[in-house]
C-alpha cells in the first residue's frame, strides 16, 4: 500500500513537471497531505470502469479528509468533468479516453485555514492511461502548519533545490555545448537540437526496455543510445545542412529548415514511440537517498551529476588540448583563415555534428533516467538549452557550460518562491534579460553586426 502511494506520488510528480528536470518529491518530504496510508487505489471507487482521475484531499498531521472541495478536469481548454470531494475527501472524475488532462483545484472552495502548500501547484497535468484510474495528489496544508512540524527547513529545501538545479544545469550544459559548437562552426542555430536530445533517450529506451525493447542493461543501452545520436547528428549534416550550404542557402533560411525538421521528427517520434512517457527498466523506482551534508540525493541523481560534470571537463580538455579540438576552435574563430592553413573545414563540421549529437543524446538519456522518456522531451528543454547557450554567449563553449549551470540553478531555486510551472518562465526571463543587457552573453565577445 505504501509503495503504491509512493509510486503514485512519483508518477504524478514526474508527469506534472513541465520541465524534465523537475524536483521529485522526496519520500521524507513535507507530505502533510499525501495520505501514505490511505492511498487512492488504482481501482476506481464508485464502479467507474473507464479511465478516470481520482484524488484524495487531506491536510494536517493526521491526514484529515477535506470535504466540499471542487476539482475540475479539462482538456484543450474544454471542461470535461467537475466533482466535489465527499466526506472521506475523495473524488473521482471519469475522462473519455487516455491523454493529457489538466486537473485544477478550485482554491476558493477550500475551507478556511486550508491552503495549497507553498510552491505546490493547484493545477496538475497528468497523463491518463486508457484503462484504470489515475490518482493525483494535491499538496494541501493547514495554514501556519507548513513552518512548524516535521518538514525540512528552508535551508534544507534550498540546498536540495540547488543540488537538483546543478544536476539539471549540467545536463542542459551537455546539450548546450553541442548547440554552441554547431553555431560556432556553421553559424546555424539548430532548432532541431531538441530532437537530437529526444532521439538519444528514445533509442536507449528501445535498447533497454524488457517489453518492446531488447532488454539490455541501462548502461549498455546508454552507450548504444549515445552512438546512435552521434550518427543521427552526422545524418543532419550530411543529409540536410551540407547540401543546403552547397546550394548557398542563407543561414536564416536554414534556421527555418531546422524548425521544419524538428516538427517532422518530433511527430514521427510520437507515432513510433507513442504518446505516453516511459521509464527505463533500471533505477525507475525510488531508492534510499544518499546524504551529503545537508543535501540528500537519490543515488542516480548523484551519478548523473558526476558523469555530466566529468563529460564537460573532458570536452573542455578536448577542445583546449587535442589537435582536433584546436581545429574545431580554429574553424569557429575564423573559417577562411583555418581553411587557408590547411584545415578541412567540412570534415571538422561533420565531427562537430557527431560530437554535438552524442552530447545531446547523453543529455537526453540523463533527463530520461531522472524523469521519463517522452516523444516531446526535447522540445520541452530546447528553449532552456537556448537560454544556456545565449547566457554564455553563442559559440563560446565554456560559456555554454556556465550558462547551463546558471539557468539550472536559478530556475530550480525559483520554485522555492514560485509555482513549479513558472520555472520555465524564470529560465526564459533570465535569457531575455541577458539578451537585453549583454547580447553577446557573459563570455561572448561583442562582434560587428553582419
Amino acid at each position: 500500500m505504501v509503495l503504491v502511494a509512493l509510486l503514485a506520488l512519483v508518477a504524478s510528480a514526474s508527469l506534472l513537471s513541465s520541465l524534465a528536470g523537475a524536483q521529485e518529491p522526496n519520500p521524507t518530504a513535507p507530505t502533510t497531505t499525501a495520505p501514505t496510508t490511505t492511498a487512492p487505489t488504482t481501482t476506481a471507487p464508485g464502479g467507474v470502469t473507464g479511465p478516470a482521475i481520482t484524488t484524495t484531499l487531506t491536510a494536517g498531521k493526521g491526514g484529515e479528509p477535506i470535504e466540499g472541495v471542487v476539482v475540475t478536469v479539462s482538456r484543450d481548454g474544454e471542461q470535461i468533468g467537475r466533482a466535489t470531494s465527499g466526506p472521506d475527501g475523495t473524488l473521482t472524475i471519469p475522462v473519455p479516453e487516455s491523454g493529457q488532462y489538466q486537473v485544477t483545484l478550485d482554491k476558493k472552495s477550500l475551507p478556511d485555514g486550508v491552503e495549497v502548500q507553498k510552491g505546490a501547484p493547484s493545477t496538475l497535468t497528468p497523463f491518463v492511461q486508457a484503462s484504470g484510474s489515475l490518482p493525483v495528489v494535491f499538496r494541501l496544508t493547514e495554514a501556519g502548519q507548513a513552518d512548524s512540524g516535521g518538514g525540512p527547513s528552508d535551508v534544507e529545501r534550498l540546498t536540495s533545490l540547488a543540488a537538483s538545479g546543478i544536476r539539471f544545469g549540467l545536463v542542459i550544459a551537455l546539450a548546450a555545448v553541442g548547440l554552441s559548437l554547431i553555431f560556432g562552426t556553421t553559424g546555424l542555430t539548430n532548432f532541431a537540437h531538441g530532437e537530437l536530445i529526444a532521439f538519444g533517450a528514445i533509442v536507449t529506451w528501445y535498447l533497454n526496455a524488457p517489453n518492446g525493447g531488447l532488454g539490455l542493461p541501462l548502461l549498455v543501452a546508454a552507450v548504444g543510445g549515445i552512438l546512435a545520436s552521434g550518427l543521427f547528428g552526422a545524418s543532419f549534416e550530411l543529409g540536410v545542412y551540407r547540401p543546403l550550404r552547397r546550394r548557398g542557402m542563407p543561414v536564416v533560411s536554414q534556421m527555418v529548415v531546422s524548425i521544419g525538421l524538428a516538427f517532422a521528427l518530433r511527430y514521427l517520434f510520437s507515432i513510433v514511440f507513442g504518446q505516453s512517457p516511459q521509464q527505463y527498466a533500471q533505477y525507475a523506482a525510488q531508492s534510499p537517498t544518499v546524504s551529503l551534508g545537508p543535501v540528500s540525493l537519490r543515488p542516480k541523481d548523484l551519478v548523473i551529476t558526476a558523469v555530466a560534470f566529468a563529460c564537460l571537463i573532458a570536452i573542455g580538455l578536448f577542445l583546449q588540448r587535442a589537435r582536433l579540438g584546436t581545429a574545431i576552435r580554429a574553424v569557429s574563430d575564423n573559417r577562411d583563415l583555418s581553411i587557408a592553413s590547411g584545415i578541412d573545414d567540412q570534415r571538422v563540421i561533420l565531427i562537430v555534428w557527431v560530437v554535438a549529437g552524442a552530447l545531446a543524446g547523453l543529455s537526453g538519456i540523463m533527463l530520461a533516467s531522472s524523469d521519463s522518456t517522452s516523444w516531446n522531451m526535447g522540445q520541452r528543454v530546447l528553449l532552456v538549452t537556448f537560454a544556456a547557450v545565449v547566457l554564455g554567449g553563442l559559440g563560446t563553449t565554456f560559456g555554454a557550460m556556465v550558462g547551463g549551470l546558471v539557468v539550472g540553478i536559478v530556475s530550480d531555486l525559483s520554485t522555492f518562491w514560485l509555482d513549479a510551472d513558472l520555472k520555465i518562465v524564470v529560465a526564459l526571463a533570465t535569457l531575455v534579460v541577458v539578451l537585453l543587457i549583454r547580447p553577446q552573453g557573459i563570455f561572448g565577445v561583442r562582434t560587428r553586426t553582419a
Partner: protein, 325 residues
Amino acid sequence: MNLGAALVDGLRDMVAVPSVVYALGAIGLNIQFGFAGLLNFGSVASGLVGAYGASIAVDQGLPLWVGVIIGLAAAALLGLLLGLPTLRLRADYLAIATISAAEIIRVIVNSARLQDVTGGPIGLTGGADDFFAVNPIPEGRYGWGSFSFNQNTLWTILVGWTIVIVLCLFVWGLARSPWGRLLKAVREDEDAARSLGKNVFKLKLQAFVLGSVIGGIAGIIFMFDGGFVKPDFFVSQTTFNWYLVVILGGVATVLGPPVGAIVYWFVISVLNSVLTQVIGDGWWIFDTTDTGAIRYVLVGLTIVLLLVFRPQGLLGDKDEAVIGE
C-alpha cells in the same frame, strides 16, 4: 474510401474561421518576416495578447468594442516592448528572444495563480457575446450537408474574410508606398539604406508593431470562433504553422498569406479526412490518435521541401525570393 466527403471537409475548412485566423496571423507575420526580414518566432504572442486583452476586458464588464481596442493596443504595446530592445539583435538572437517571450507570456497566462483574471488553463468564455448579439443573420444552419455553418460561425467567417480583404488592400498599398519600398531596401541591404540617412531601426520597429497589431486581430477572430480563449492555441507550433502559410503562399507577396492559409487548410483537412478513413482503428504502426501527428510530420517536411525547392512559394517571384537560395 469516401473521397467526396474528404473534399467537402477540405472545402469547408478552407473558408472556416481557423483559415481566417491563419490568414490574418500570416499577414502580420509577412509584414515582419517577409517585408522587413525580421525573424519573429513568437508571432503567436500578439494573437494571445489581442485575444486575452479583449476577453479580460469583457470579463471585467467592459463592452466588446472597448475590449477590442484594448486587445489591439496591448498587441501594439507588445510589439513595441519586444521590438525596442530586440530589433538591434542579430536574426538568430531575435528569433530566440521572441520565441522565449511568447512562451513566457503563454505560461504566465496558463498559470493557476492568475485563474481569477485569465481563467488559467481553462481560459475565458463569453468574450464574443456582444459580437454574436449584433449578428444580422437569422438563427439556423447555412450550407449543404457537412459544408454548413451555424449563424454565428457564418457571421464570424464573413467579418473575418472582409478584414482579410481590407488588410490585403492595405498591404498592397503599403508595399507600393515610399515606406514599403524603403522597408524592402532595408531588408535587402541595411547598410545601404542607413548610408542614405534612413532611420533603419525606426522603420523596423514600425513594421514590427504593425505586424503585431494584425496578429492581435487574428487572436480576436480566434476568440470569436468558439466564443472563448484558451492558452493551448497560442503554442509556438501555431507560429510555425503561420510560417508555413507565409512561405507556401509566397514570402513578401500581398496575396500570399490568404492563399497560403486556404491551401494549407484545404490540404490538411482533406488529408485528415483521408487518414482517418484509412487508418480507422489502426493500420500498420499507426493508431487512431496518430492522424494529428502525421499531419504535423507533413507540415514539417513541407516547410523543408518548400524552402529547398520552391522558396518563392506559390505566388512569389523567384527573383525577389527573400529566403532560400
